[in-house]
Symmetry: D2
């Protein structure tokens, strides 16, 4: 079934080999974490425009304030300070289909749309008729447009990254008012998915972008939680607003 | 007890503010993920030598082949492919006191050693007498020296990062043979802890470095697992070597 | 959107109320964990036959040896012994769609089959034609029949639990050879789903059975891991069988 | 280092063996989940008084309303409904040293106190002088006494479970006012630790009791979350009470 092989890395007594390169001689001091991440995911180093686009996507999605996953992580650290890794894990477990998964679903929609040559209006209509959310569009807070979106697509154009996936995303955005009768703003998940697909990242792996980025965000919150705790406060504020009717 | 405040980030309808900066205008397209991570953790952007040192530490610890946490993550993805976040979380949960926690413990030893002005030989002797492992020293595979260590400390010197924590680490390394009667090689956890402490990261938060770095590594393995699965193979190889004596 | 209420439990200064009952006076010393679990899930205490069936399902699925999720948990404890909860969490994260999720999917198939009045042969054919696994059937190890299955359905009959869901499951089992041209043995997930649906547990919540049961199993393994460790051994056995081709 | 053996369970093509017993013939339909859990942990079946005591401890600690770990689990399910196991895992990760770990620490205090023959007053004084919390005593909500405590110790006496660990716990409780100048009420963690130690469970493994029990509690909440969601409401209630001062 499987080839029983890995191309990611191996450690020997005197070296660590990563994707065919020597960690110590070829990578340390020569590449950034983002470049290493790209190498690990894609099997090759990014060029400068790929690096810039990947960094912009990671930076765009790393932080969004006290979102549920951050609250879960901070409460977990309050209760289990012996395990920083447990608090990060609890936060990442909330990076699911509803919150950050739209990256993957928007990516699949763009990939499948290109594969089938479907008309953008038809794609939007299909979602509306099935009463499914249109992945990559809409945001509960940024109702009049997500500021990160404009910036990401501008960078993607500027860097020459934008290709057929960005084009289809824009065509879908343009088709939304025709089908929904109103604007449904493009969100950051859609605006990450399209340029990263144009760089060659497959849809399934798109969620790697928010997962790595949010880990950085969570670690920032968790240092703060250690020094200026709000975890139990968050829980008591929330509990006070819920009635027991058992 | 707590101030009920956070300085990390907030999202409003038309902006995301991160550590007092505007995400869209000040950060996206201007900073790398590593620079954002430093900003989130430290409350200020790194200068170029701080950025280089942080990237070198992250790159050094991101990958080490099929270590237990990678195996746990790959088996978890095989069993639960619907949750990429769950597989990453399972992998991070293995970044504990035995495997990557030495970063934190080595950091605490250096911090406390400087605070108390203890003699390096006394520090080593104290660990040996209490039969506690000397954090930051020794490695089951890299028995004759960890190649990442030399590179990290050379970079730390070159970049002018090395300060009193790196000096104490070297003094402890030099004191080891006197106490143990043999060389106990410095490992990557120790060689990350000292320069990062010299950059101002507190000991408690040092584990943020391996946690972010390993997330990148895990995501590389998990893309591969999706396309070239070995998770169940790993489990059956291991199971075959264990006898039931119930 | 939500009512902002919970009927599960509340704690006051001098009592804990659970599902309308007093924890100390009504439950402690009066109910088993299984009865409390049934009360929490269903909002009412089980009668004796419901209790017996639920216990039998839990006991059936708690242990299956060194499966991948157990290996992940044991490796995690080896690496992070400070966090027993982290090792349990790592194990549970592998209770996903491929390994134990069939309980939920088999349940949905039975529920939907009854709702639509579909013919059992048609249900089987639909799965085969869509090249989807038939949930609740087949097992990589128990190829000639899963011993737990026979026992569970016999108990379900004996206790008078078997209703329309068990009947449909048996009809599907009987239809398999007609469609597949061979026997595909019923597995434990199917044999848990049908009686628990007949007791009123909705399909979405069926996975609660393997999740609670496996927690008990994992905790047994983790005590053993603490006293007779094999976590790192498992990882080295597995690693030795995988080649690096980076 | 390790024997590379497990006594917990093994699966063969036609049987599952658990702790030397046949799962299908000896356990299913014959034992409750609590009895199986005891067998897995201790290597032998409980007698009736052991079973009752274990059930009482599990029931006592399973639910306490919307505690932080429940909130973390419910928020996680809201964000990632595709992974019930991820929501349970996020909840369990908050069963740490601060919240439920007192079981383990109280157990270690009792075990070490008996081993060294220390005077109860000396044990309490040692904690006070080191400014360490006295594990098993005090509760932020149940300030005038934890109702579960009285019930557990009464059951322990009634069942004839109470031995030297329960006796030492009571002696420590009696010594508290002398050292602290006020009553510090015994809490549920202490009242679980002592009888379970008297039954032979080692201190390290005591946390297995709250971990299994809370899994049952979490699954109750998560069924409710699926049908009557409050996860996002909890997060918005909490967020509204925290100010950004970045």
């Amino acid at each position: 079934m499987s080839e029983a092989k890995t191309a990611i890395a191996e450690a020997t007594a005197d070296a660590v080999n990563v994707r065919g390169l020597d960690l110590t001689g070829d990578l340390m001091g020569h590449v950034t974490l983002t470049e290493l991440f790209f190498l690990l995911l894609m099997g090759r180093k990014p060029d400068e425009r790929e690096r810039e686009m990947t960094d912009a996507c990671l930076v765009a999605i790393a932080e969004h304030g006290l979102v549920p996953s951050v609250q879960a992580a901070r409460m977990t650290l309050s209760a289990a300070p012996e395990s920083l890794q447990g608090a990060v894990a609890a936060g990442l477990l909330g990076c699911g289909s509803v919150i950050l998964g739209a990256t993957e679903y928007a990516g699949a929609m763009l990939r499948d749309g290109l594969a089938s040559g479907a008309d953008p209006v038809a794609i939007v209509r299909e979602h509306r008729e099935a009463r499914r959310a249109l992945p990559g569009f809409g945001h509960p807070l940024h109702r009049d447009g997500d500021p990160r979106t404009v910036r990401l697509l501008a960078l993607s154009d500027e860097l020459g990254v934008s290709g057929e996936h960005v084009a289809l995303l824009r065509a879908i955005e343009a088709a939304v008012p025709e089908v929904y009768g109103r604007v449904l703003p493009l969100n950051v998940s859609g605006a990450i998915a399209a340029p990263m697909l144009d760089l060659g990242l497959p849809a399934y792996t798109l969620k790697a972008i928010p997962l790595l980025a949010r880990t950085a965000g969570l670690l920032g919150h968790l240092r703060e939680e250690h020094e200026r705790p709000i975890g139990f406060k968050l829980a008591s504020l929330a509990e006070a607003g819920i009635e027991y009717d058992g």
